[in-house]
């Protein structure tokens, strides 16, 4: 299963490497979102510093949703889902592989966003380890939830409008936990950043379990 999952993840990353959608389109857009937040808060340095953690995760949410959309458009575009159904690859492997692929793409996005937040909002990273752990936990949770719901909306004509509606309520806890953990890592609030971080890992684990169990139901037709 792991071998097949890695195969799919490698394929997805190769598609990204060839098309450069994440680095070329989504990352600049996410940076723009950071800039627009500064407009919304009238460039109030104090507000931006306080909100940096939350704004970071909102930007990840928006950019990441686009990446999930893209991850499934690649599959539905030329009937590739049919090829998957016909192949020897099982649904759990596909789920894991897609999640891994999305994970690394969102990581790529965050590699641009972290410096963006630090430079634009003038925050200092007080706890690197916590920041890293929170980013990994949040991104994992985001990826598995995203792939599970992305598969639900895949191939539907209205997927572009439907996916965010389905995804955001489920991701609300991740957004909340990620923001609070970043608050601590950025030294804005002295709160239980580690507990929030572990919550994100729990969410990731729960959704991975559900995804492995139910992904097969989402692939079959008729």
């Amino acid at each position: 299963m792991l071998r097949e999952a890695l195969l799919i993840a490698r394929k997805d990353l190769r598609v990204e490497w060839r098309s450069k959608v994440t680095l070329g389109h989504v990352a600049p857009l996410a940076l723009l979102i950071l800039v627009v937040f500064a407009f919304a808060f009238d460039a109030n340095a104090r507000l931006l510093e306080l909100g940096a953690g939350g704004l970071y995760w909102v930007a990840v949410l928006f950019g990441g949703t686009l990446l999930i959309q893209r991850a499934f458009d690649v599959e539905t575009e030329d009937g590739n889902f049919d090829a998957f159904r016909m192949s020897a690859i099982g649904a759990p492997s596909l789920f894991l592989g897609k999640s891994l692929g999305v994970f690394f793409q969102v990581v790529l996005l965050e590699l641009v966003l972290v410096p963006g937040v630090v430079l634009l909002y003038n925050v200092r990273i007080e706890n690197w380890v916590l920041l890293l752990a929170a980013a990994v936990g949040g991104t994992l949770a985001f990826s598995v939830c995203g792939v599970l719901w992305g598969a639900m909306a895949a191939g539907l004509r209205v997927r572009a409008t439907l996916l965010p509606l389905l995804l955001v309520p489920v991701l609300a806890p991740v957004l909340l936990a990620g923001s609070r953990a970043f608050d601590t890592a950025l030294g804005v609030r002295a709160e239980a950043g580690w507990t929030w971080t572990s919550l994100m890992f729990v969410i990731a684990a729960v959704h991975t379990a559900i995804g492995l169990g139910t992904f097969g139901f989402l692939l079959e037709e008729g």
């Binding site: 060839r18 030329d78 049919d82 016909m86 192949s87 020897a88």
Partner: protein, 217 residues
Amino acid sequence: MSTVVKFHKVVAVAGGFPVLAGLDIEIAKGEIVHLRGSNGAGKTSFMRVCAGLIPISDGDANVLGFDMRDDRRSPRRHIGLLGHDNHLYKDLWVQEHVEFRAAATGAEAGDAGAALRRVGLSDRLWSVPIERLSAGQRRRVAIASMLVGRPQLWLLDEPHAALDDEGRGLLDEILVEAASSGATVVFASHERDLSKSVATRVVTLRGGRLMEDSGAA
């Protein structure tokens, strides 16, 4: 096992429409069946039911020894399906794509090169993004992707479309070769004369049912 596909009064529904309305057909191992019929006659649907992609709602179907009512997933890995779509990742390079498909069906990555050569794509094209290929070249990549899986049952929907004369000749050769090595081939095509040369049997569908059957040659 000499019967590869056995349909008895099969009704199948897709998109709220009865795409197959009581189809009876038997196909034996090694046959090359040419499916004919007007648009909407059920050619594509027949192949998708064979591939287990559309469930049957009435009748009995057996493909490669699997009862399609109980288990329409197991026969899939032994079936190669070439649909209207090419099932290609357009951002990937030709070679990357075929290697991925080979790995996904459990074949050796080295088979990819052989398959590409077999469909007449020269090394020069292997590291070109599929996006930049012509329609006919893409079709060839799709056929190569199917070849690497070494399927027992080949289902090809309009495989000749978009191919040039040389490509069609090549495809026919490949089909004959597959059949003689024990695989079974079903292909749909509107062009009668061309395919008459390789088909061992011509079957005509109409309204989701069997209309005419030349019988096994």
